[in-house]
């Protein structure tokens, strides 16, 4: 997997390095921080990591995070209350999103909407595949994506503008200022607008309504004394979307309009102190808030349709220590806490969660060819069982060409706030959903109000609470780096996940509708292989990259039932016993996915063509047997092809770009609401540094 990163490292390195630095220029200056929380050479990290550099981001024409992730091997976009990413077949809610190493908050139904993150001044994106709860705690179950923003070391300004189909308009201004060799300030502002698009013009609703967002990011670094360094960074994001759709309620239809607002912000203060050249302390103070508010009304009489709000706040304090024990060993540790609160229209009161934690990590190079990484984290949360998350990884470099690595780790995801505290009744259908922590109290209230017909599961029996969803994962792989600038790598993975949370009926209401709460039930696994390759041709003018992922993702309960004699509704023969081969696995997983990219560079010109493909994937059970089996339950596979061209002027101070995304205009309004079809853009960037 290491070379995955290599493959993803920007072609600029490949183009500019000369042959004598071969071993390899591909890895030369690639560093990664997310894997160990310290800067490490990418080629030395013994776990699957992928890097996306600034050049790759810019040459793709991507504006938001989802667009660039969609082009990476083994990453698949999924849409559920926002656009998320599936990694190694794990659903979007199991991927932790970090910005400069700190957790980004604000998920809806488990999905962190990646379209919220502007790529405007992102320096690089680091992707760790497989669980990393040994360093990051909850949510790092399937993987971690860390977005690292730019922090220029020069005085200057950078202006970037882009205009495209659907009046998408993306403008960024970044400025940086050095403070007498002892510090720097970087500020960036981005405005993004899109008119949205409509994949099903025959309906009133647009697929995506028009929206406008602003992103501000800032960072100050200051060397206070030779030993003490301080940094202060923060961001503010605000988006407004104009809702306009038809709602059906009780045979009545009305046009609903109104504005949905989404905001988030963060402040991050870090103090680093070097006691000795070998002992470093870091105090990290982080605060973040995420808010949504929507006020919807019926256009015919201007009566309120829905007013809802959601505010989540996170406060995190952490003290990190790093000891370089000797030339072969580094020991790191950390202690901290997080405090999280939420106030929302679907929660009866303000709810709070806290977590105290400790982690330890040991990096060991017993010989020049071995690298062994061990880690352990203990979490003591306020509202569920404590967690111990180990990780061990090893890398062996056989020679300059061959390299092997293997790792084992565990991950967990704490029960989500909604699973603990939700108090929701559907006003149209009439069912209700209660979080496990409030189920007892709310059920008693509903009983008093005469709303309960029969109780099936006593909430006091759920007092033990929800267990975190947890996984154990194995990764094993190797890579070969050839002399003539080519490299291939493979990684095999297996994730076993248990205690996945689902809803179940705990009582029936007097209106006949169910009352749901949550419980730990599912056990699933995902396994597969990832293959990556890269080659440079024509004196590094042409770089080709390709990646492929094979994936199997199944519900273990279904597999057990099939052995037991699960009956399915065969569309041709009627009910019959299922074979394992009938079972298509978890929904929304493609067995095969691959990408091919070609980058060509000549003088001040650069062009590229990128293609991504995913095979068919299940979307719903349609024949009533509750598993993915019939052909009609699959959405068809598809390929997207993107082209991009750019030319630099004035000693690379200015660049003009143009591109077409999805040139064959593939759309699927039912299953791919986030794919707008063929779009084009033109853009320019200009920078002035001294």
């Amino acid at each position: 997997m290491i070379f995955t990163l290599v493959c993803c490292s920007s072609l600029v390195y490949a183009q500019e390095s000369s042959r004598d630095s071969l071993q390899s220029h591909m890895e030369l200056s690639e560093f990664v921080v997310t894997a160990t929380r310290s800067n490490r050479k990418l080629s030395d990290v013994p776990i699957p990591v992928m890097l996306i550099g600034k050049e790759q981001i810019q040459s793709s024409g991507a504006s938001r995070l989802d667009e660039i992730l969609a082009e990476q091997t083994g990453l698949t976009l999924v849409s559920d209350h926002g656009v998320g990413i599936q990694m190694q077949g794990m659903a979007a809610e199991y991927c932790l999103i970090l910005i400069n190493g700190e957790p980004a908050i604000g998920r809806t139904a488990g999905t962190f909407d990646l379209t919220r993150i502007s790529l405007s001044n992102v320096k690089r994106i680091e992707i760790i595949k497989g669980p990393s709860s040994s360093l990051y705690g909850s949510d790092a179950l399937g993987g971690v994506i860390n977005i690292i923003t730019d922090n220029s070391k020069r005085n200057g300004v950078h202006l970037q503008t882009k205009y495209g189909k659907y009046h998408s308009f993306d403008n960024t201004l970044t400025g940086s200022l050095m403070l007498n060799n002892s510090g720097s300030v970087t500020l960036s502002a981005n405005r993004f607008h899109s008119d949205g698009y409509d994949l099903s013009p025959e309906t009133y609703d647009k697929t995506v309504d028009p929206y406008t967002s602003y992103t501000f990011r800032g960072k100050i670094n200051y060397q206070v004394t030779p030993k003490l360094k301080a940094s202060l960074s923060g961001h503010y994001f605000s988006e407004k979307q104009d809702n306009n759709y038809i709602a059906e309620e009780e045979m009545d239809t009305s046009v609903i309009k109104g504005i949905g607002k989404e905001k988030d912000g963060s402040v991050n203060a870090i103090f680093s102190y070097d006691f000795t050249p070998d002992w470093h302390l870091k105090l990290r103070n982080y605060w973040s808030q995420y808010k949504t508010k929507s006020e919807l009304f019926k256009t015919k009489d201007h009566s309120a349709y829905e007013n809802s709000y959601f505010t989540q706040t996170l406060w995190k304090e952490e003290l990190q220590s790093k000891n370089v024990l000797n030339t072969k060993q580094v020991f790191s540790s950390g202690i901290g806490f997080t405090r999280e609160s939420v106030v929302a229209s679907r929660y009866t009161q303000k709810e709070e969660l806290s977590d105290y934690y400790l982690y330890l990590q040991h990096e060991w190079h017993p010989t020049s060819s071995w690298n062994i990484l061990t880690g352990l984290r203990y979490d003591y949360p306020s509202s569920y069982h404590s967690q111990l998350s180990p990780k061990i990884a090893a890398q062996y470099k056989v020679d300059d060409h061959w390299k092997f690595q293997a790792s084992f780790g565990t991950g967990y995801k704490a029960p989500a706030l909604r699973q603990l505290f939700l108090t929701f009744s559907n006003s149209v259908v009439g069912y209700s959903v209660l979080g496990t922590k409030v189920a007892g109290r709310e059920l008693e209230n509903m009983k008093q109000a005469g709303m309960i017909q029969q109780v099936y599961i006593d909430p006091s029996k759920m007092a033990d609470g929800l267990k975190p969803e947890s996984s154990a994962a194995y990764n094993f792989g190797g890579s070969y780096t050839g002399y003539s600038d080519w490299k291939v790598s493979v990684n095999f993975f297996r994730n076993d996940i248990k205690n996945l949370i689902d809803t179940r009926i705990i009582a029936r209401k007097t209106n006949g509708q169910p009352l749901y709460s949550y419980y730990n039930v599912h056990r699933v696994y995902t396994e597969g292989a990832e293959l990556n390759g890269q080659i440079s041709l024509l004196q590094h003018k042409l770089t080709l990259r390709a990646g492929y992922q094979f994936l199997i993702a199944r519900d273990k309960n279904v597999v057990a039932q099939i052995k037991d004699g699960l009956v399915i509704n065969d569309p041709e023969t009627g009910p019959r016993y299922a074979e394992l081969s009938d079972y298509g696995g978890l929904f929304n997983r493609s067995k095969h996915s691959f990408n091919v990219k070609a980058y060509y560079h000549y003088h001040s010109w650069a062009i590229n063509a990128r293609m991504t493909y995913r095979s068919r994937f299940g979307f719903a059970d349609l024949n009533g047997d509750n598993i993915l089996d019939a052909d009609k339950e699959y959405a068809s596979g598809y390929a997207l092809v993107h082209l991009n061209a750019e030319k630099s002027f004035l000693n690379n101070k200015m660049t003009i770009r143009a591109g077409v995304k999805n040139i064959f205009n593939y759309t699927d309004s039912q299953h791919l609401s986030y794919e707008p079809g063929r779009t084009w853009y033109i853009g320019a960037s200009f920078h002035l540094y001294k």
Binding site: M251, D252, V429, Y456, I505, G565, A620, L622, G624
Partner: protein, 205 residues
């Protein structure tokens, strides 16, 4: 609860046909095979929601159960419910048995999972239970599809019932929608049960 039970004398079509369902006939020729007749009940109303033809708000269900007796494939009037000569009741997705909290009878049932209807040929060895305050015996007969909001009978879920007249019957619920359509369930009126059943011989497994 049974006070609420009323019955509309709705038409039930009982389609009776003979089928040779015993696969093992060749291997174990029994001198006098039990007659194998599967009864299919189509569109048994279970407190359906009444649509307003003028497109107004549909009138909701009454909350009343439809009671059924297997011995003569008939709906039992509410006025007769006290006599205890019914076996099973349907209201919405709720399926009840005539005993304990739901009736004066002694009807019990058990669930057999992951089995095709024709493959269950003897009375299963498990215990026969009554509905209780902690749940009904047959609560798990369907799955709710969150995608299209439909009720789907679990294909391998069989209901085995020890009836009020001391017989054993196996039951498979086929559909919850009028006409038992195979597709576009959400377009069909719900709360209409289609099910098939067959009496089992007394030999235990």
């Amino acid at each position: 609860m049974m006070k609420n039970v009323t019955l509309s004398a709705l038409l039930i079509m009982a389609v009776i046909f003979a089928g040779s369902c015993s696969k093992d006939d060749d291997k174990n020729p029994s001198p006098e095979p039990t007659p194998q007749t599967v009864t299919v009940i189509k569109d048994l109303p279970a407190d359906p929601v009444v649509e307003d033809p003028d497109g107004g708000r549909p009138s909701g269900g009454t909350g009343e159960f439809t009671l059924f007796r297997f011995s003569d494939s008939s709906i039992v009037e509410i006025s007769d419910s006290a006599a205890g000569k019914w076996d099973i009741g349907f209201q919405g997705t709720t399926v009840i048995l005539n005993s304990n909290i739901h009736g004066s009878g002694n009807v019990t049932g058990q669930v057999v999972k992951n089995t095709l209807f024709e493959d269950l040929t003897t009375i299963p060895g498990g215990s026969f239970l009554s509905d209780s305050t902690s749940g009904n015996v047959f609560d798990g007969w369907y799955e709710y599809n969150m995608e299209n909001h439909t009720i789907n009978p679990n294909p391998g879920f069989l209901l085995v019932i020890h009836t009020h007249d001391d017989k054993y019957v196996k039951v498979k619920i086929v559909s919850y929608y009028k006409g038992a359509p195979e597709e576009n369930l959400s377009d069909a009126p719900s709360r209409y049960y289609t099910f098939k059943y067959l009496f089992l011989s007394e030999e235990k497994e």
